[in-house]
Symmetry: C2
Subunit: 630 residues, 2 copies
């Protein structure tokens, strides 16, 4: 058995109820490592071409990594992989929490779920054992209630529960998977896939703690992290990702009023500092992590009372329910966040869909007659919260919005399509292509739709060590920020490989990474070495990242997708209004050239934008080319 | 100043006699590191398109590396770069010895030589000072004599002399650069370039020892090398590269009788063991190296007396003057080796050219009327030695042979062309494509002609650690050996990048490398870190190797070369005769597919086989694309 791993992968067929345990070879673990790359291995092999994302033929894969559960910051992550009901492309989402570490303790590195249960079930994994249990009584419960019930009935108060809420049961296309009631595999609608399978939860508890191959090296690396925590990620720990609100506003990069401006009036009411000074109850952590970036907020009075069980809003949530919607009411945003975690919805797509509705409402394209009477002007916090709940329950107008903004607009017509800000039908996260130009490219080419954690954004940092970290990837600080030349495309692609690697080693992108994170790329090499005992190199890890990205692209190619699906929303070509980014827009010709450069650098076919056989062979995965008939 | 380096690069214009010292930036050192990549930087910038390799417009660049002169095995290497008079393509050759370390001590990381001196000169570098001195009195001297005279006139018995012999002065197209009278920058005719510039020697002496950034890490790495020396490279130390003779014969991979067979009768008389038991006088070393693979032989009696000053034959020399020629007389081969080192000729191209003559002679395509009466049957040791001397002096038939076998055959005609075994007019070194198939590909695509130190050959090794070393480059043991499928092409290309990196960090390929060497790829990362203090990664180093390879290919593209110049000799498609490889031949269709796969994997244009702009941009060298007008 390879150190760091549990050595066991669970295969579940919900249709037959059969459970099987696979003990993969060391070569398999080394080539696919964990997380998203490992997920893609099973997705490509087990999901048939043309599978309905919400049909039994889709396969949901939950994966950990070699360091999951080891005592070091940023270790405890779970990746969910399946064909996405939101994008129709491959779906991919990561979450932290205690669930991943506990799943490793329970004796499993991954769970591959096929088929559809006849009635709701949940999986119970404990110390190497796995069983399917009835979940009929849990169906329809919000996450907090379901978690409490499960712990109670198993008499395992420390069991960790990864589950869907009612939104996933109801097929909201951007529903997510939730653990601890406040950690989300947020994007690409993985909750709907789980719901369609009638799998309410995966519950884990165990005592088989993973062992590092080199505990002393691991301790030294962990110690380095503690010694450098304040210097490198002190403000992230103190203010959480919410610290970003102020920075973005200062740069004119806070997406506001459904992406028509880069600044929001009243932004200061929703900053990380404001949260810290007002409603923050505590700083929460994932297993073994010293950063403690997670927020727990509590609001006891007023119209928007917020239960601390459901955590607190991240930067993305503050933006999507806040600035996207022109809402500067921190309690209202926190309430929307609570609802998303209760019902199991992606706060990004949900908030963005509400913002899209608001712009359409302001323009008269959608009226109160559509919205069950809700008056959805920008800034209407109450309506925003109400609409969020309607979406989760797929009530009234919420039914349509549960399809996501792109599908809703396509159904509605009336010119509402022009207000959609999404790629591959997935709503834009809260970093602005008109301010950081590589985002225009990466949002579009990313195989699982617009995503902000798939490459290193292109502002330069003044932080000590930023350039030294980048140099490990043969990169320089990508100055200046307002261009999208070949050097910037190179920066985006190389860091995309690295983020792809992070999601395949399955570590937290806020703790490990190529630029501003606590640990550098070379530290990641040390981590994998310490965990597994393999003498891995950064070359190998970057190749792992490139391999995973190509596997995703190949998956999409099999579904008939190509560069013609890598289309940015029109919105980014229109000038922003107000603030330091006033007038900023993406140059259409420059972006067109950047696409060509990107596919060329990636070794992808110029006309299809897909990996040719020779690129898959170069990555050691000729079997993927065989699968595609290349 | 970056630790490890001297921080100074000398620019010499021989036409004007002007000397200038450049102090490059840290960014330059990190991006081009040293050796061949640094050489290519200057070659591309300073050699004009269409430059006559033997004209003043060619530029000869001698480069060291970040670890040159540091106390660890395999550190002391010098690379010579210029347009090659043998191939017309970029030229590139490495040598070891004490000269490289001493050059660093003298205060220089590289020497860039332009123009042509009015009369012979030599360069004298000492403790940061550089001067050009008259060498009229040295012109025409063999290396041993010139070295002695220079040391005497400088009163510097410890000065190290890198020089050309009479062959380089006479424009022998495969003449080499020699240091210590027995270390050669052997291939691609760099000696002729130096001769055409009327630069007899570069003499160095200094006391500015380079400092490692992390001496303790360097010591630990050196200690690891000593502890593992016997296990990993013990037989290389004991028997030198000559140990290879027996292994090749056993595999049917000893190129014999001008590549018509893979076995030679009497091979046992020229093995490393036989040399060890008979004429070996001592094991020599390069600066700081514990391997001690270099041979010193002495023959005092008989027809072939050999002076130990000139070292002893490597495996390549034992093959080219031995098995290629059907000669199993160790003293005769050692004599030919001595002559090559005295006169300054590449033993590979020289021996191979003699072997070509012998086959032509046996077939009656060349007769004694051509050869000044020499009877050149296979196995005629005396004629072989005589012809070698005639080539060096360009006497009689030797004048034609000094052009190399490809040009000689083109001039002679008569069907002699079919007996040439070369790529890009450079004669095949002594590893057989019909036995190790990746060689058929790499000999052909290599930018500086057929070369055996440009990738990892494809037999599998049983040695402990081989697979673990390969895994660092995301590679597996490339079994089976008799095929050239995509996996083998991948193996060849990825290891070609690594060897390209080794020649750019400028370390010995027998001590550092991806497979069977003492130190692994990851150790090389540790070396560069310890030397420079940069937190480099293997990713960065492999990219360095890929960058250098692409720069070379770009240089050739500017000269109008393309994949149409990547042509293997017909000989490899004919079956071998006798021994374990009887009947082996390269499959033409399989090789054709391998070329396509190779260019595709390299990111090169399918029709030209040259790097497109986007690949150069991906490697961070858009300026090379600009230079080529891409």
């Amino acid at each position: 058995m390879v150190k760091g791993y549990a050595g066991r992968i669970l295969h579940v067929d919900l249709t037959s109820g059969k459970l099987e345990v696979e003990n993969p070879s060391e070569a398999f673990y080394r080539q696919y490592m964990g997380g998203s790359a490992m997920g893609m291995y099973y997705a490509l092999r087990h999901i048939p071409a043309g599978a309905d994302p919400l049909g039994p033929e889709n396969v949901l894969i939950l994966t950990l990594g070699p360091a999951t559960g080891l005592p070091i910051s940023g270790n405890s992550r779970v990746t969910a992989t399946a064909r996405s009901p939101l994008t129709g492309a491959i779906g991919d989402a990561q979450a932290g929490g205690f669930w991943p570490a506990e799943c490793k303790n329970a004796g499993f590195d991954a769970i591959v779920v096929k088929g559809r249960a006849a009635k709701p079930v949940y999986l119970w994994l404990h110390d190497g054992e796995a069983e399917l249990r009835d979940a009929s009584h849990l169906w329809g419960l919000v996450t907090g209630e379901a978690q409490a019930k499960i712990r109670e009935e198993l008499a395992e108060p420390k069991a960790e529960v990864l589950q869907i809420g009612p939104a996933g049961e109801n097929g909201v296309r951007f529903s997510c998977i939730i653990n601890m009631c406040n950690r989300a595999n947020g994007r690409t609608g993985m909750g709907a896939v789980m719901g369609a399978k009638r799998l309410k939860a995966v519950v884990v508890r165990g005592h088989q703690r993973p062992e590092a191959a080199d505990p002393e090296a691991l301790r030294a690396l962990a110690r380095w992290g503690l010694d450098n925590l304040e210097r490198r990620v002190g403000s992230l720990g103190k203010y959480g990702t919410a610290k970003t609100v102020g920075n973005q506003q200062a740069d004119g990069g806070l997406p506001s009023y459904n992406w028509t401006s880069g600044v929001m009036e009243g932004y200061d009411k929703i900053t990380g500092q404001t949260m810290y000074d007002t409603i923050l109850r505590e700083r929460d952590t994932c297993f073994g992590c010293a950063v403690r970036c997670k927020r727990v907020v509590e609001v006891k009075d007023g119209p928007f009372q917020v239960d601390p069980l459901y955590g607190g809003p991240e930067y993305e949530t503050l933006a999507t329910f806040g600035s996207y919607c022109g809402v500067s009411d921190l309690a209202a945003i926190s309430k929307a966040n609570e609802l998303c975690n209760k019902y199991g919805m992606d706060t990004i797509s949900c908030g963005a869909t509400v913002a899209w509705t608001m712009e359409c409402f302001e323009k008269g394209l959608i009226t109160a007659a559509d919205t069950d009477g809700l008056v959805l002007n920008f800034g209407n916090a109450e309506a925003m919260v109400k609409l969020t709940e309607k979406i989760a329950k797929r009530e009234g107008f919420g039914k349509l919005l549960g399809e996501g903004s792109a599908r809703a607009a396509a159904q509605l017509g009336r010119g509402t399509e022009a207000c959609v800000v999404a790629c591959k039908k997935q709503e834009y996260p809260a970093h602005m292509p008109r301010v950081k130009r590589t985002l225009a490219l990466i949002y579009a080419v990313n195989p699982f739709g617009a995503d902000h954690m798939s490459h290193e954004h292109d502002p330069s940092y003044e932080e000590d060590g930023y350039e030294a970290y980048l140099a490990q990837l043969d990169l320089k600080d990508p100055q200046p920020t307002r261009s999208l030349n070949a050097e910037k495309v190179r920066f985006a692609l190389h860091t995309q490989w690295m983020y792809s690697c992070l999601d395949s080693v399955n570590v937290c992108d806020f703790v490990w990474g190529p630029g501003w994170q606590l640990y550098s790329s070379n530290h990641l090499v040390e981590l994998v070495r310490a965990a597994t005992g393999w003498d891995v190199s950064l070359y190998e890890l970057v190749k792992l990242g490139e391999r995973r990205l190509n596997m995703m692209r190949a998956f999409n190619a099999r579904e008939g997708m190509s560069r013609h699906d890598d289309v940015p929303p029109e919105r980014i070509f229109a000038p922003l209004k107000g603030g330091p980014s006033d007038g900023f827009k993406v140059d259409r010709d420059e972006l067109a050239r950047a696409f060509d450069t990107y596919y060329g650098m990636a070794g992808w076919d110029a006309s299809s934008g897909n990996p040719p056989r020779v690129k898959l062979e170069e990555l050691g995965i000729a079997w993927v080319a065989d699968l595609l008939g290349l």
